[in-house]
């Protein structure tokens, strides 16, 4: 590499978001970026740019034809490495769905899936989501003890995601383990072999689901993908499995992470919790956006520069890797005054927790709705909850998802409202099938009828 090429990689930082200490140093490191170098070069992981400023991220979103999300897993195109830096060992050989594709291919997937995931489409499911949340709380409500991750925030997003996909609800545990443990288990862990096996079982079931919906069509995201064509041709099964695995990954771990962190914060700030409950009519929406900004469960995405170009005042060469840090941009003081403070009513909250540009999280409406419903039911049924700081377990590293493994809490016990989870899932499965709940909003407009 020429000296000239090295000279343009400036300013230089050492940025390692996979290091365990990054979680504790996040605010300090982020301030460093914003004070001098919102766009810098780091030699870590083969060398890559790091964009930490809101303005810079917007410039990249608007230069979309110069950046690529492509993950060329079979070496058929330009060898690009997709959206993870470094590209993960697990799932090697499978593209991360349409998040690791560029238009027009990516567009075809979004067009096929959007009618299942739009605000209007998700609003139809609220009675279903409420029923799952109530069943989770019913399992714990008489005891006055709950683990908000294991007993609530893991379960509701998982069950709802499977319902939308058209996968039997009772399979949620088969998907739950790899979706969470696959993110938080470091490669050197003794648990890794077990997690890899669970991940393999999940991919196998996704493949089986594709075959099932082709043989016996049933509505849902799996059916939408099984029927889609790009220029008159069906995508490969590998790409479809990757897309379904992306929906699982996006639907499970992220909303769990947001919910756990918000509940932990509300336990630490009981006056704010009571205010949020009291003023929910006006505060629930902005508070949700503020939790998204402050905790940013999916902290960033990688890109590859697709042609020599200049963006945000920097010179890039084709093949350069780039990390777009949604999490650091969400603390940019140029856009968010007092950025390290949670302000439940924050105005002008143009956060980037769901990304920017054409790859905006396709499940953003799912995440918001499921989070809000879980939060409201906790505020109503366990309003005095206190999380146990000694039992809270955060992810060891937050390079992929800023999540939590456990969040135990106690509260004043209350009465059950209905049957437990297993019986509820049986009932909900029947309702899903009878009412065709997983149809797109273009086919079915009506809200789910549970009772």
């Amino acid at each position: 590499m020429s000296d000239d090429d090295e000279a343009r990689k400036h300013p230089r930082v050492h940025f390692d978001r996979h290091a365990p200490e990054y979680r504790d140093r996040f605010e300090e490191e982020t301030r460093g970026f914003h004070e001098g170098c919102p766009l810098a070069w780091s030699d870590t992981y083969g060398g890559h740019w790091v964009a930490a400023g809101n303005r810079e991220l917007l410039a990249f979103a608007r230069a979309r034809e110069k950046l690529s999300n492509d993950h060329d897993v079979h070496g058929e195109r330009r060898g690009y490495q997709g959206i993870n830096i470094p590209a993960p060992a697990r799932g090697r050989g499978i593209r991360g769905g349409f998040l690791e594709m560029d238009p027009p291919e990516q567009r075809a997937y979004r067009d096929a899936l959007n009618p299942y995931l739009s605000p209007a489409a998700i609003a139809r499911w609220i009675p279903f989501i409420d029923e799952v949340a109530h069943a989770c709380l019913d399992e714990r409500i008489e005891s006055g003890r709950i683990d908000f991750v294991d007993d609530l925030a893991n379960i509701v997003p998982a069950v709802f995601t499977l319902a939308m996909m058209g996968i039997p609800l009772k399979k949620w545990e088969l998907y739950n383990e790899p979706a969470h443990a696959g993110v938080y288990t470091p490669p050197h862990s003794p648990e890794t072999a077990r997690v890899v096996e669970a991940h393999r079982a999940m991919l196998k079931d996704i493949g089986a689901t594709l075959h099932e919906v082709r043989a016996n069509p049933r509505p849902g995201l799996a059916d939408a993908l099984a029927r889609m064509e790009i220029d008159g041709r069906a995508p490969s099964d590998g790409d479809l499995v990757g897309a379904l695995a992306l929906l699982i990954g996006g639907g499970f771990d992220t909303t769990t992470a947001l919910t756990a962190h918000a509940l932990e914060w509300l336990s630490q700030h009981p006056a704010e919790r009571d205010r949020l409950s009291r003023e929910r009519a006006t505060l629930l929406d902005p508070a949700t956006e503020e939790f998204l900004r402050y905790f940013t469960p999916a902290p960033g995405d990688g890109r590859t520069v697709a042609e020599d170009c200049e963006i945000a005042g920097k010179e890039f060469r084709e093949g350069d890797r780039l990390w777009l840090s949604w999490a650091m941009a969400n603390r940019d003081p140029a856009v968010f005054p007092d950025p390290d403070r949670v302000d439940l009513a924050r105005p002008g909250n143009r956060h980037t927790a769901f990304g920017l540009g054409i790859h905006r999280c396709i499940g953003s409406n799912v995440a918001r709705t499921v989070f809000k419903r879980m939060l409201l039911h906790v505020l109503d049924r366990a309003p005095d909850f206190v999380c146990d700081p000694g039992g809270a377990v955060h992810y060891e590293t937050i390079g992929v998802i800023q999540g939590m493994r456990h969040l135990p809490a106690t509260f004043t016990p209350g009465p059950r409202l209905g049957p437990g989870l297993a019986e509820t899932l049986e009932t909900l499965q029947r309702i899903c099938d009878e009412q065709g709940l997983a149809e797109p909003v273009t086919v079915r407009k009506a809200e789910a009828k549970i009772r």
């Binding site: 917007l58 979103a61 608007r62 979004r110 959007n114 009618p115 739009s118 605000p119 209007a120 489409a121 929406d285 902005p286 956006e289 105005p347 002008g348 909250n349 143009r350 956060h351 980037t352 769901f354 920017l356 540009g357 054409i358 905006r360 953003s364 409406n365 909003v441 273009t442």
Partner: protein, 63 residues
């Protein structure tokens, strides 16, 4: 006050609708936003300005 949503920039974040539900409508298919009317009623001007400030893509303009 007039309002416009740039359809090339809007990505369906839905924050404008949260801030000014009477001034914007969201596509049933993909959640992308359009103004209910070009001309903003006086009693909605403050909400629309807040929607402008909340748009992650800076896709909304008032003039």
């Amino acid at each position: 006050m007039k309002v416009r949503v740039d359809p090339e920039r809007c990505q369906g974040h839905t924050l404008c609708f949260m801030r000014a539900p009477e001034a914007f409508e969201l596509s049933e298919i993909d959640g992308h936003s359009t103004p209910v009317a070009d001309e903003v009623p006086e009693d909605q001007e403050a909400a629309v300005v807040e929607a402008v400030r909340s748009c992650p893509e800076r896709a909304i303009g008032v003039f």
